[in-house]
């Protein structure tokens, strides 16, 4: 018996070349059916249909022509899954959409829904932000499938955050380029000539592959580009027709993914930087997004110790252990510095200036006029014009383009080589000075934390210390939010904190913490987020995703019942105009009152264990213990804590 495949070899060309008119009612020759109703089509059988009627049915009752018409044996999206698997991509986060239905089906059935696993998301912004948080823990990209124009527009804000925060995410945007093949209606409004244009200003690269060879080459290229510092999101526009087509002929080979070697700074310039640093009396190191891995933090410690230079964090990444004596706060150190080394520093200008939010926006320089500024980083390698996330231009004495984490060993080696033997006593004096200052700062933090200890709303210091007491013996990872008294936490692993949103686009913390917790789950770490209340309400459905996929995460809601930053901004405006007496301007549009939002009930409705609102500080510790028990079972848990504004 001829098989369907045998038939396809000989006759597929006929079927492929034929038109496929719809025949509603299926009555022979367009006459009347058994029901007596007239069929819609009165046209004579097409050549295709004539072939179908002549063929012998296979064992399933279909002629080969029927099979060609109804079925696809080897869809191209199966090969796409092979490519995704070969790249080691573990997850495809997505809010589903028909423009990638072919890929979705292949992931689940052909791919077995494992590596990659399809993550059910309730908003595209959540999906991309999950990928953003995941990448900062897993050190590799997650794929995110977005549904054409509508899905990518939903995703756009999270894409911008990932771009600003240099997080690799591979976005697969479904689209139908070939217009005559689009189904009427939504498939048109969901398609675009240039789908990736929407986010091109804040992605590193994009492409529209229209063949499988083009697809595999583009995806492997996209992966490499996303992972090359400065990292960032990339877009592959996934053609809907291509996904659903039968594979024609042999599939193309999948190129091997070779390791990305980050760009290294110029050795001559690094020697000059080392010379300046060694000669300095008061060198200061300002790291931005430096440490991607444990090695990044270790390398920065080595450089700081070689110089006995204080390291003043600027946010962005967990770069330096805060229990190290050289971990210091800025202020006076910046003012007295004679050499400042900025590492992957996003905003050097703001580090040496102070712009106050006054009517005339005064800016004053806080650093010495004769300070030598050295910049090492990859920030200049991927700048784009439109979106202004690159901050104000700061002239520097030495600007070295190169990945800081990769370049630090050479710089440290040069510093050691150039340090004179008789300079050791000076280094020892510095070390002692910073050891004393470090201890004093810690004791001050302890005293400060006691203020407002019993207040209700609960002080953020109390929240931080209650939480620290519960997690400090664990292998923990703070995946979102700020610790009010971080000096009283021991924060000395590169995953203890992962930085913020990058673009300061609200709505990042909740989904990014779920994505990071997913990556931490595989590593056996305990994930905790101090979750801003307003941020949670952008797309709270991500809580359901956490519950559905059994992602263990403790979320402690910092519930100050407001977009508090905006409360302060509006109060500033009203006071500046001398009409702030009743606080009306600050309240309207910025606060969550009448009614209050019940986050615990919200979480319960999404399948997440929760308690709250907690207003009595004495209730917090026992509630945390109950929540941690839930997380230890592999589930998410949420505590709603009514907190002081800051």
């Amino acid at each position: 018996m001829a098989t369907r495949r045998d038939f396809l070899k000989g006759v597929a060309a006929i079927g492929a070349a034929s038109s496929l008119p719809a025949r509603v009612g299926a009555g022979p020759s367009g006459t009347e059916t058994d029901t007596g109703r007239a069929t819609v089509s009165a046209a004579p059988p097409s050549r295709y249909e004539a072939v179908m009627e002549l063929e012998t049915p296979d064992e399933e009752g279909y002629t080969e022509a029927e099979a060609t018409r109804y079925f696809v044996e080897h869809p191209a999206s199966d090969f796409m899954v092979d490519v995704i698997k070969k790249l080691g991509i573990e997850y495809v986060a997505s809010n589903p959409g028909s423009s990638f239905r072919g890929l979705q089906e292949s992931i689940v059935t052909y791919g077995g829904n494992t590596r990659p696993e399809f993550l059910t998301c309730l908003h595209e912004e959540s999906a991309v932000a999950m990928g953003h948080g995941y990448a900062k823990i897993a050190y590799k990209p997650m794929a995110v499938a977005c549904h054409g124009t509508v899905g990518l527009q939903h995703a756009a804000m999270a894409v911008y955050n990932a771009y600003c925060d240099r997080a690799p995410v591979i976005i697969l945007a479904g689209n139908h380029v070939e217009a005559s093949g689009r189904r009427p209606g939504a498939e048109w409004s969901h398609s675009a000539l240039d789908c990736a244009k929407l986010v091109r200003d804040f992605t590193k690269w994009d492409d529209i592959p229209l063949s499988l060879t083009h697809f595999v080459e583009s995806v492997v290229r996209a992966y490499r580009i996303a992972m090359t510092p400065p990292m960032g999101p990339v877009v592959i526009v996934l053609d809907g027709h291509l996904q659903e087509e039968e594979i024609k002929g042999a599939v193309p080979p999948i190129p091997p993914l070779t390791a990305v070697i980050p760009p290294h700074g110029d050795t001559g310039a690094l020697r000059e930087a080392a010379r300046l640093l060694v000669a300095a009396q008061n060198p200061v190191i300002l790291p931005g997004r430096v440490a991607r891995t444990a090695a990044g933090m270790e390398r920065l410690v080595e450089l700081a110790e070689a110089l006995q230079a204080p390291v003043v964090g600027t946010g962005g990444r967990m770069n330096f252990p805060n229990d190290h004596p050289l971990s210091q706060s800025g202020g006076r150190l910046i003012r007295e510095a004679d050499v400042i080394l900025g590492l992957e520093l996003e905003d050097f200008w703001n580090s040496v200036h102070d712009m106050r939010d006054l009517p005339h926006r005064e800016a004053v320089r806080v650093a010495r006029e004769d300070v030598k500024l050295i910049s090492l980083g990859v920030g200049d390698l991927a700048l784009k014009a439109n979106y202004q996330n690159f901050q104000r231009f700061q002239p520097v004495d030495l600007s070295i383009s190169g990945d800081a984490e990769a370049t630090l060993p050479f710089l440290t080696e040069e510093v050691r080589r150039l340090t004179p033997a008789d300079g050791r006593s000076r280094l020892a004096e510095r070390a002692e000075r910073f050891r004393v200052a470090h201890g004093q700062a810690r004791e001050q933090a302890r005293r400060d934390a006691a203020h407002g200890w019993n207040s209700s709303p609960v002080s953020m210091a109390r929240v931080s210390l209650e939480l620290w007491h519960q997690i400090k013996a664990r292998d923990w990872s703070l995946v979102a939010g700020n610790v009010a008294v971080s000096g009283l936490w021991t924060i000395n692993r590169h995953y203890h904190r992962i930085g913020g949103s990058g673009g300061a686009g609200v709505g990042y913390a909740a989904p990014a913490s779920v994505g990071a917790a997913l990556a931490n789950r595989a590593l056996g770490r305990f994930s905790v987020a101090i979750q801003p209340d307003g941020d949670l309400m952008y797309a709270p459905g991500v809580l359901w995703t956490a519950a559905h996929h059994n992602i263990p995460l403790l979320s402690v809601v910092h519930n100050n019942r407001a977009y508090h930053q905006e409360v302060m901004h509006l109060q500033r405006m009203a006071l500046r105009r001398q009409r702030g007496a009743d606080g009306l301007a600050a309240r309207v549009g910025n606060t969550f009152q009448d009614p209050f939002i019940d986050y615990a009930t919200l979480a319960k409705g999404l399948g997440v264990w929760s308690e709250g609102p907690i207003t009595n500080p004495g209730d917090l510790g026992p509630a945390l213990r109950r929540a941690i028990d839930v997380v230890d079972r592999g589930e998410p848990a949420l505590l709603d804590v009514v907190c002081q504004p800051r």
């Binding site: 106050r356 924060i491 500080p617």
Partner: protein, 157 residues
């Protein structure tokens, strides 16, 4: 005495200047902030280790909340991290306190007499002054005996 006052003032000014670099901050009012009733309920139901909040009924507290001082300095004047420094307990002398409110340095917005009367300012000061001493850190189990940890508040991200 004047030298001491100026030294305290200077320290506060330095603090505010440093805060300015963070790009945060403002000081303001939000009457009906939504907390007052609930926090009083919490105080009434507080566990034995939570003292009743006498400060909540101080007449100046309403002005303090009305003018939004709590937004940056916290309801107990304990400070709001990078948003605003601690102002209680043991506040500055009234003259220094009033001067900063009327003609602040750094990023704090000015409260003119048109917005906050002298009488209102005095009531706020009396409230701040009435805030009881904080517990001794060494007597709080979660703060006593903590011998690990770092020192700075910004390095870790």
């Amino acid at each position: 005495m004047r030298k001491t006052t100026l030294a305290i003032l200077g320290a506060l000014v330095c603090g505010l200047l440093v805060l300015g670099a963070s790009g945060l901050v403002a000081m303001g009012a939000a009457p009906g902030s939504g907390f007052a009733q609930e926090e009083q309920d919490a105080a009434a139901n507080a566990s034995p280790d939570v003292p009743a909040q006498e400060a909540a009924v101080h007449p100046g507290r309403e002005d303090y909340v009305q003018m939004g001082c709590y937004q940056c300095h916290g309801y107990e004047g304990h400070g709001g991290g990078s948003a605003g420094p601690r102002i209680a307990p043991d506040p500055l002398a009234y003259d220094a306190f009033a001067r900063i409110v009327r003609r602040p340095y750094g990023v704090m917005p000015a409260y003119s007499p048109r917005v906050l009367s002298d009488e209102g300012l005095k009531r706020i000061y009396e409230y701040v002054k009435s805030i009881p001493a904080s517990p001794d850190a060494s007597e709080l189990p979660l703060l006593a005996g903590e011998d690990e940890g770092g020192s700075d508040v910004s390095n870790s991200s």
